[in-house]
Symmetry: D2
Subunit: 139 residues, 4 copies
Amino acid sequence: MLTSRHQVTVEWGHCDPAGIVYFPNYFSYFDNSTNALFLRALGFNKYEMLRKYDIIGIPLIDVGARFILPSVFGDLVTIESSVAKIGRSSFRMQHRLLKGDALAVEGHEIRVWAGRDPADPDKLKSRPIPAEVVARLSG
Amino acid sequence: MLTSRHQVTVEWGHCDPAGIVYFPNYFSYFDNSTNALFLRALGFNKYEMLRKYDIIGIPLIDVGARFILPSVFGDLVTIESSVAKIGRSSFRMQHRLLKGDALAVEGHEIRVWAGRDPADPDKLKSRPIPAEVVARLSG
Amino acid sequence: MLTSRHQVTVEWGHCDPAGIVYFPNYFSYFDNSTNALFLRALGFNKYEMLRKYDIIGIPLIDVGARFILPSVFGDLVTIESSVAKIGRSSFRMQHRLLKGDALAVEGHEIRVWAGRDPADPDKLKSRPIPAEVVARLSG
Amino acid sequence: MLTSRHQVTVEWGHCDPAGIVYFPNYFSYFDNSTNALFLRALGFNKYEMLRKYDIIGIPLIDVGARFILPSVFGDLVTIESSVAKIGRSSFRMQHRLLKGDALAVEGHEIRVWAGRDPADPDKLKSRPIPAEVVARLSG
């Protein structure tokens, strides 16, 4: 499956009075990484993706994380993200935040490929992930 | 002119490693307060406002703040916001953050009443603020 | 076990270009709620708690959430939080975000009662949760 | 005076329901840039700087920004920051956010070199900026 790695600098404003990354920000790091992986896999950004496939987005239905080591302002950490599983209309991203070689945070996201519900345009309805997207995400 | 006051609890995640409110969050407090004042003045929320007046939003063109006293996690502060000036297509909000009676932060926002540019729908174009909105904001 | 309920207004800046709450912000809502519950249970805030019990904090080791219904700017939602389980040096918070009576988000946090490691003051070490804290959190 | 330039990707979570950068985030971009410039100028990060010079921080006393062009998710923008003026115990940072060659946001920060007040350790007191720091910031 497709994997991407990139580096993130922990900024002052990402950290809390304990001096460590305020944990919701880890989910932003992971979300940014998922978006970057899609951009690289599909060759166009989220807006173009939404237009091209007539979807509303790839909203999350389940996320989780385990926090093993804290990170502080100035740390340069590595985010390693991969598509762990692709179902009919949902997929699972696996994320690891590394400090050097040490695993500091481990997380996952389950997202759905979602369009408007034809029966009620205010609602979302999952749709089959197009074969070409599956192929690209499979590396 | 219209004035509103409400209280905000400084949350853990609003603060930085120095233990004080990370300053960009003060602008969120002020933005929330402007939105609340509009809701109260017009009787409908931002989405309804955009639809009713066929505008894109009330984007900011200029903001500023002076920081006098820091605030820390757990502080219950007062945000006092008022419409300071209404022009043809822009208006000025004045904000004060108070700790007890002491002025801790003072800020302003200049916003425009903006619709789509008929000549280029990707661009914004300022529009005259409707008379009924001016009347409501004038208290 | 102790339960608390309070209301949160979904602010403009909490939402993303899809118009819905940017999911990491749900974890901030839950974190704020845990802090509020502790304040109510113990009668003093996080700083006083850290001083009194000579701990560094109650850092998270595991969090997760399921997203069932989206929320948008202007929604007034209810956060219902409870202490679900108290172990020797860790505890589990359970959170529910309700829109009216409908469950919109469900989440948990596992936190540890942590002090400095006497062997290495740069590290944290879990400590037994004091009996009086256990009693208060048990309602 | 010292100037730094670096690029920032506008992330999904930085943007609001209007699809544009939520304006307080511009101040985070600028703050990150000030921190990066100091790191480069002094050769050590904020924590080391605080320790070495026995200060509490370089808190802001005044900030402002003018918003000229919006930015959206996926934009790769340039932040150009420079030390515009150094006084005895305060200094002014000037920031420009560029989209290609176009100026999109212009901002400033006035910060003080602050230590603990010897008369009251809970308060801050401005201190003279050390000559070697002035020399480094002057490029």
